[in-house]
Structure formats: structure tokens, C-alpha cells
């Protein structure tokens, strides 16, 4: 099977006001299979949001794509003409962002906001447009699509607003959806509902998805594959069950250990401390050379400071970038 979206050696930097370039993505490569949910896991400064926007070239003004390629439907999106990109964005590849209250127009009914997406990508007749709008909303709101269609964003809950955004993203039947922390502002029960909506859409339409999050627990039982970003690099990537159950990179391991589990009782009823990763992952604290995680790593060796580890295959699909696994 060939991938529907192929990202090759993507390097993106941001220019500071002084003119200096600081790298946000330092050579990220992966392919997205049709119908696959790829969970991209990363913390602040990992480059995960930069990844979301640079695929369809929506970087802010100071962002620069240094090198790489994004292959989609026979084109390299990084070299596509603006009019070609306009045809792809929102129609073949859609984006869903974190804050549903900011992404919706406050004084426009939800139905109209979905209708405008359809109208922007083709000019069917007025009645077809209304009919399509109803259909699209009915997919994400099986029960109360009509009420939602006539509602203003402030009359909707956070979860409902997020569903309206999903309806917008799905309106034109894209083959890839990139969702950047789409559930971060929702409570746990609503989060699970939204994940269920994504799964249904995937099963119905063979939709492929890049699901970006900082919360590993969301990915278990949801993503097919998990890719872990740290300091703008892929440190580990593999099937979700393998990576979530037995992470191999020291960063992934330490990250998972720092999350408390509901079932974990306290030792002798006393409160115990959580294992933590010392330091922080902000861009300014990354080392200039060597492995980006080296300063915080508990398993570091001399070589880690000298050069960057390459991605090593642990199994056919599970790769990790750490000298521990290089032979």
C-alpha cells in the first residue's frame, strides 16, 4: 500500500526579530497510510504544531521551510503554486484546531459556517448547498442536527462547537485531516466522544488522520500508529500498542512514567512522588549538537553529546532514535 501523504526530511525554522533562525522541525519524515490514524505526541517546543501547519503551508510570517518535501496526490505541496494549494486546503486536506470558540465566527449560525466551506470549494446550486450542509451536520450530530444548524456558537457547548469544526473539516470529503490538539479544551467525557466521532468518520470514509496531542493516554485505543516528537525530531515511531505498552526511547519511557494512573494505589496509604523528567523542553534549552534529549536523559552516554542518533529499526514498523539501540 502506498501512503496518501508522505513527509520527507521536513525542516522548518522561525526567524526571530533579530534575524536569527531557530529550528522548529529538524528533519521529520513519515508516511501516512490511507485510513490510518497517526498520533503525533509531543510537548511544548517539540514542533508538533509547526508540523500541522507546514504540511499545507500555513506557517506564520516568520516561519520558513528550509528543506524537505510533502507528497500528496502526485504533487509536492511545498513547491505547489498558491492556486493549487488553495484547491487542496480545506478540500483534500483539512485542519482542525484546538480552540473551537476561536475558530468559529461568533455571530454566524453554525449551519452557515459549514455552508460557506462547501460554497468556497465549488459552486453547486443553492438547494444542493443547503442539502449538503444538512447531510454534513447530520454526520456529526445524529440527533439534533437541525437545532445545531440554527444555533450560534455561544449557544453550543465546547464539545458541540468542536463537532461543528469537524463538520466543516469533513464537508468536502477530504482524504487527510490534521487535528492539532482538538480535544485539549474539553473535559474527559467530551474528549472521548470526539475521539469516537473521528473513529466513526474514519471507518465510514477511509479518512486518514494526523492527530496531534500532548496527552499519550488519549492515543491508546484510538491511534493506529504513534510518532513521538522531541526537539523537532522524531525520537520514536511505531504501532500504537507497541509504543504505548513498551516504549523504547528514554524520553518516551520517562514521559509515560510521569503520568499517574487511576488504579495505582499509594504505597502503604502514603503519598508518593511522581517520577519526573528534570528540566524543560523549550527550544532555548535544547543542546546545539548531539541528541536533543541528552541534557535530560538518565541513560546518556558520551556519544550522545557528539552526534545525533539515527533512527534504528527495532522491528519492521517500530523505529527509535537512540544510541542504546545502535549496534
Amino acid at each position: 500500500m502506498t501512503s496518501v501523504l508522505e513527509i520527507q526530511d521536513l525542516q522548518v525554522s522561525y526567524r526571530s526579530r533579530g534575524g536569527a533562525l531557530s529550528p522548529a522541525l529538524a528533519g521529520v519524515s513519515f508516511g501516512l497510510m490511507p485510513g490510518e490514524i497517526m498520533g503525533v505526541l509531543g510537548e511544548s517546543g517539540s514542533g508538533k504544531s509547526t508540523l500541522a501547519v507546514s504540511v499545507v503551508r500555513l506557517l506564520p510570517g516568520n516561519g520558513e521551510i528550509i528543506r524537505g518535501a510533502v507528497h500528496f496526490e502526485g504533487k509536492d505541496l511545498l513547491r505547489a503554486r498558491p492556486d493549487e494549494l488553495q484547491q487542496i486546503r480545506g478540500r483534500r486536506i483539512s485542519l482542525i484546531f484546538q480552540e473551537p470558540s476561536l475558530a468559529l465566527h461568533p455571530t454566524m449560525r453554525a449551519g452557515e459556517q459549514v455552508r460557506q466551506v462547501l460554497a468556497a470549494h465549488g459552486s453547486p446550486g443553492k438547494s444542493t448547498l443547503s442539502e449538503r450542509t444538512r447531510q454534513v451536520l447530520a454526520e456529526v450530530f445524529p440527533e439534533e442536527a437541525d437545532r445545531i444548524r440554527r444555533s450560534y456558537p455561544h449557544q453550543l457547548s465546547g464539545g458541540q462547537r468542536q463537532r461543528v469544526l469537524i463538520a466543516q473539516a469533513m464537508a468536502c470529503g477530504p482524504s487527510v485531516v490534521i487535528a492539532d490538539e482538538p480535544t485539549a479544551s474539553l473535559d474527559a467525557a467530551t474528549q472521548m466522544e470526539i475521539l469516537a466521532v473521528f473513529r466513526t468518520l474514519r471507518e465510514r470514509g477511509g479518512l486518514a488522520m494526523i492527530f496531534i496531542t500532548h496527552n499519550p493516554a488519549l492515543l491508546s485505543g484510538f491511534a493506529d500508529r504513534v510518532l513521538i516528537l522531541y526537539g523537532g525530531r522524531v525520537v520514536e515511531c511505531g504501532p500504537a500498542e507497541a509504543v504505548l505498552a513498551s516504549p523504547r526511547h528514554p524520553y518516551t519511557k520517562a514521559l509515560f512514567e510521569s503520568i499517574p494512573a487511576v488504579s495505582e494505589g499509594r504505597a502503604n496509604g502514603r503519598k508518593t512522588k511522581l517520577p519526573v523528567i528534570l528540566g524543560d523542553s523549550s527550544r532555548s534549552s535544547l543542546p546545539r549538537r548531539g541528541c536533543p534529549f541528552e541534557p535530560r536523559c538518565t541513560e546518556k552516554m558520551n556519544i550522545c553529546r557528539e552526534r545525533e542518533p539515527a533512527l534504528v529499526n527495532l522491528s519492521e514498523f517500530h523505529v527509535v532514535s537512540c544510541f542504546k539501540y545502535e549496534s
Partner: protein, 287 residues
């Protein structure tokens, strides 16, 4: 940290159940009224008879979905809103009934920490300005004393005193939340209300801040009201748990027991909604 430790050592050493509760909330009701566009009066019962107690040096976690009344509760306890009816006994005084002047004496002892440190810190101020603001209100310190307190507060929360001149925008999310905690500690509070204080942070940073809160509890005898929708973190940090639904506490008791055997449907639903990691348990690996 002499000035912080001095007043709190007593509670820390005498932390037992036979002592007076620090906070006792009785039958708290908060009703919001609003008029719709056509003029009809709509009522929203945000708190519907909430009662609980917190003992010094312990943590009570209040969990519930959004809209269950958690944040209204926080506002009432921090004297930011007045409850419609009910009593809030803090150190034996009913703070609902206090005159404004007397309430001002109580306010510094109850401090709030919010979810988003970026929006709760003035972006135009330096770290030093932010930390000495509460001290200026007390108006009993010289500038030099305030600076000294600021740097010992920073050390207390694990930040380097070198950052005093920087604006909060130059700090990471975790550093900002540490700064918000340092500011809350400036007036030597008895109770910290943490309103989703970890929710906006990265997982690894959440763990760091959770550990800091535990450190502060054991060294200063701090008391926490931890408001969250994260049941796992609530179970980790809290001694007691109160589960809220539609303005009521539907279940409360020792955190461990409730999480092991949830008695109310809301609790079971909340537990079921917690995303879980697949974990390779050490015992399984050995087998």
C-alpha cells in the same frame, strides 16, 4: 524561608483528625439570575447545597465535568463571589457574614491558582513586580525586604532568583505556573485553591508541579482544594475526594476508597471517561 515556615510549622506537626477543620462549608447555594433577550428571567443553580470540611495539611480534590459548579465553588471560597445562602467557616469564622473590612483580613489566607498561568500574570510586569505586588498591599515591608522575600519565594518553588528581571513571556509554561504558586505563597496563605492548575501543562511538567505541591504540603503544612477533571491526578494528590454533578456533591470520602469502589453513577462515568495508558506491568513482564 524562615518567614513562611515560622507560622505554619505548628499545623504541619499536629496534623491529625482530632483538630479543628481549616475550612468547613455548610449548605452552600449560589444562584445566578439572568434575563434572556425577550425579558424572561432564567435561573441557574450553580451550587445546590454543597457541604464539606478540609483539615489543615490535607488535600481535598473536587472533581466533576465542566459546568458542574467546581469553579463557582472556588470563587465563593476565595471571597470573589458571595454565595446566595450557606456558610463558609474558615478558621472558625463565617466569612460569608464578615464585613468587607474584616473579610480583607481573611482574603490573603486563601489564595487561588488558575489554569492558565499565561493569562493570570501581567505580561508587562517583571517577575519581581509580580511577586512583590501582594507584599506592597500589606504595606509593612521596605523595598529591600520585599526583594529578599521575592528571591526566597522563587527558590521555594524551584526557580532561579536570576529571573527576577524577566517578563513572564520569557518563561516556559511550567515556570509560569511555579511563579503563580510563588505569588500565591507570598502572603503566607493557609489554603491554596488550585482551579485546574495542572490541566494546561504538558504531562512531564504536570508531574513536576504535582511534586512541588506535595513538597510544599510537607514543608509548610499547606492545605489544598484541588479542583480538576483529571481523576488520576486527583487520586494521586488528594486525601479526600468530592464528586460534583449539577451543583451538588454526589459522593465524597477518602480518595482511595472512592476510586476503588465508586458509589455514584457520576463517579463511575467520570472514571470510565479517563483515558488509560496501556501499561506493561512489571509482574507481567517477569512471567
Amino acid at each position: 524561608m524562615w518567614f513562611l515556615v515560622s507560622s505554619m510549622k505548628v499545623e504541619a506537626s499536629a496534623c491529625g483528625q482530632n483538630m479543628q477543620p481549616l475550612l468547613k462549608v455548610e449548605n452552600l447555594v449560589k444562584r445566578y439570575a439572568r434575563r434572556s433577550l425577550v425579558g424572561a428571567r432564567e435561573e441557574l443553580l450553580a451550587l445546590d447545597g454543597v457541604s464539606f470540611t478540609i483539615f489543615p495539611g490535607t488535600t481535598l480534590a473536587v472533581v466533576g465535568e465542566s459546568g458542574s459548579g467546581k469553579s463557582t465553588l472556588a470563587s465563593c471560597l476565595a471571597c470573589l463571589e458571595s454565595p446566595t445562602t450557606g456558610n463558609i467557616w474558615f478558621e472558625g469564622k463565617d466569612i460569608v457574614k464578615l464585613e468587607e473590612r474584616a473579610r480583607r483580613q481573611v482574603r490573603p489566607k486563601i489564595q487561588l491558582i488558575f489554569q492558565d498561568p499565561a493569562s493570570s500574570l501581567n505580561p508587562r510586569w517583571s517577575v519581581l513586580d509580580i511577586l512583590i505586588e501582594p507584599l506592597i498591599l500589606e504595606s509593612k515591608f521596605t523595598r529591600e525586604e520585599m526583594k529578599q522575600r521575592a528571591s526566597s519565594l522563587l527558590e521555594r518553588v524551584g526557580l532561579s532568583p536570576d529571573i527576577v528581571e524577566r517578563p513572564p513571556s520569557e518563561l516556559s509554561g511550567g515556570q509560569r505556573q511555579r511563579l503563580a504558586i510563588a505569588r500565591a505563597l507570598a502572603l503566607e496563605p493557609k489554603l491554596l485553591i488550585l482551579d485546574e492548575a495542572l490541566s494546561a501543562l504538558d504531562c512531564s511538567v504536570q508531574a513536576q508541579i504535582a511534586n512541588l505541591l506535595m513538597d510544599l504540603q510537607s514543608s509548610l503544612g499547606m492545605t489544598y482544594l484541588f479542583i480538576t477533571h483529571d481523576l488520576a491526578m486527583a487520586g494521586h494528590l488528594a486525601d479526600d475526594l468530592a464528586v460534583m454533578n449539577r451543583g451538588r456533591i454526589v459522593e465524597q470520602g477518602p480518595a482511595e476508597e472512592i476510586l476503588k469502589q465508586p458509589g455514584h453513577e457520576t463517579t463511575r462515568q467520570l472514571l470510565a471517561a479517563v483515558p488509560r495508558m496501556i501499561r506493561a506491568l512489571p509482574e507481567l513482564e517477569q512471567q
